[in-house]
Amino acid sequence: MKQYVLRRVALAVPTLFLVSVIVFAMMRLMPGDVATRMVEGHAYAPTLEALRKDLGLDRPVHVQYLEWVGAIVLKGDFGRSYWTRQPIWEEFVRRFPVTLELAALTILISVVIGIAVGIVSAMRQDTPADYIGRVGAILALSVPYFGLAVLVVVLPSIYFRWTPVWTYVPLTTDPVANLKIMIVPALVFGVTRAGPIMRIMRSALLDVLRQDYIRTAWSKGLGERTIVLRHGLKNAMIPVITLIGLQTPLYIGGSVIIEAIFRLPGVGHFFFEALTRLDYPVVQSVNLIVAAMVVGLNLLVDLAYAFLDPRIRYR
């Protein structure tokens, strides 16, 4: 087990290296140039050349890359924003709890809805309850979360002069007020993410319920609840857990728009502003941090398999 974890951690290094190269290259390939944009009105430096030198953009690209990665690896320094000159790591740490809370609530909502509806659909296959669940899942899959978010914000303001957008309050300051602020964006995001979970849950459970050991359980005279929840669900959860793991980057990526619409001061908002301003170090470092987190999370998902199915062993 320990060896397995170590091997996985070692494997994460080339993954993160590739991510860093891709993100670095993509920022340079994007149309426009951060220096020309910053020097508009000469607010940051007297000339374009002076600004390029100040930002280190006058050096060869590979040197810029090595400096960025080197500072992270050797000093844990993720750099500073070109525009605000603030340390990126500090800003990330300040904003991360907002995004983490949004992601946690979103996962909770999508898992609860997805699994519950999936179980009901599987247990009541081809009944009206199953049809409603499946239509709901398709609907959740096909409605873009950002479109739903705009509708949820705009429509009540037009028809009821009310909108579910408030001034953000941290969880530690006022948990009730915080939950009131977070619940609507988490619901919007969570409901649209519940669709795939429901579909996988349903098909996995149907598959498991047709297995021999389940038939044996029925023949032993066990109750439906015991068979489904104790014997069927645990095995059917493996693909669902995999899916949740795979969806995690989407929770972070989706927060970019959800946070802008619902006025949440999280990492997504930070990333979005940096991207629109071509703030290279912010986009690169935030991407790398998030990629590292996704790699770590996938490792946790893999380890969860062993808990759910003891037959899975790590070598």
Partner: protein, 535 residues
Amino acid sequence: MARPIALGISLLAVMLCAMPDPALAQQPRRGGVLRIAEREAPGLDPHLTVSFLSHSYISLAYSQLVRFPNGPEQKHPADFSILPDLAEKWEYKTPTSLVFTLRKGVKFHNKPPVNGREVTAEDVRYSLERFRAKSGFRSRFDAVQVIEAPDRYTVRITLKEPFAPFLNHLANPTFTAILPREAEEKFKDFNHPDAVIGTGPFILRSYDKGVKVVFERNPDYYMKGLPHLDGVVIEIAPDTQTRLSLLRAGKVEMAHVWGWLSPEEARGVKQTNPEMVATPYKVIGVGHIYMRTDQPPFNDVRVRRAVSLAIDRKGWNDALLFGEGCVDSGPVPCAMTDWKLDASKMDPAKTKTLVGYDPAEAKRLLAQAGHPKGFTTPMFHWPGYVSPWRSYYELAAEALGKIGITVELKPEEYGKYISTTYLGKFEKMAMGPSTPFTEVDDFLYGTHFPEQPNNRSSVADAELSKLLIAQRRELDPKKRKEIVDDIQRYLADKQYYVYVPQWPQYVAHPPYVKGFKHHDGYGLGLRLMYTWLDK
């Protein structure tokens, strides 16, 4: 029979006169907090950013030497007459020597490290020197030779030559906030919220990044009894639809830092919230097609006149702007009424190509210029400008197509556009709005004098240049206006730029927001100084 009617009318008139004007009857009330939904400003240092958002935020906290009129002081939104601010008076000792006398006893906000000390001439000198050294707008001070503080309350500015726009630049809140040196020494610059220490009507109390900026009333503001509000909160909301929803839901009083809405947005808000006050204003700026007038084919005035005659400005205004725009829109913007010479007051033969529509004549001019079958030209532009700009590009291309000029629309990424096309570095033709300046010099000298960055059409006209310099050097406003009129007459049939209708902007807020008057300067603090809440 006639006498009783006349008597009745007279009585009615007397009664009407005796009735109090509702506006006058209402006395401003102290208290309340005004909430504004707006995007986050990129920084708070007045000299390290050129963003209007930054300058609007911090204008609540800072004062200048002189200022523009606001609220009840202003005659109209583009009233750029000069009023005392930290300087109680000023005098031209010679045409190049300007002496300001400061108010005594004006104190900085009571925040460390400044702790409410008095403003002195040295603070003014330091701030103006910092502006000259660091601001993106520092070319406004090119005429300045030396800034001195001979005593505690006197500032003397010596200019290299007479420069009429100088006081306007000093009054513009985007340029010359008076700052305390100690704050820069402690915080390195003025970007830190704790470093925002001014003498303005509001004190920046807290800034929760990405969430809100809280300003409180300055109890020691030098204008006694002002501001009326207890505070102002800027609720940071990056998304336009969210800001509008917050306005509709009554969670903010304004959905833009200046209360602006586009005509379409204003109509939508009036439908859902009929009680909302939505007032149209002309935007101070121009929309124009600019051309490389130093290269063929646009070095031929007949071609430029043809381009202008192809634009049906009235139809454009009716179709896109609900008839609320302004068709006689350049070179001096419609809103700048103190300097504008209307086309109707000029020789119709000359203004025909400035504001007229005559596609047949346009084709004839093109044929005369050697383009009987027209020609093809690119039109560089940035598609990201707010509504109605995307339609503007398409409408212009369609209009020119009708006289045989095939326009290839060339959208550009903002960074490229603003650093090349907007500065006149393009081929043949481009289109876009101008910056909304507060000084007429920027619309004339800035866009027509050789080598100026905003001379997008590469104009080099010796006769015009003489007039442009003359208006800058004339300190007598009346005489200067005559020269500015001459420039407008001269430019009427030159078509160095082809102007398209100017769009209106609405200022919208609930009816209980009183005393908020739109002003075309960049400051928000002075507008809010006279604002009060009737609830």
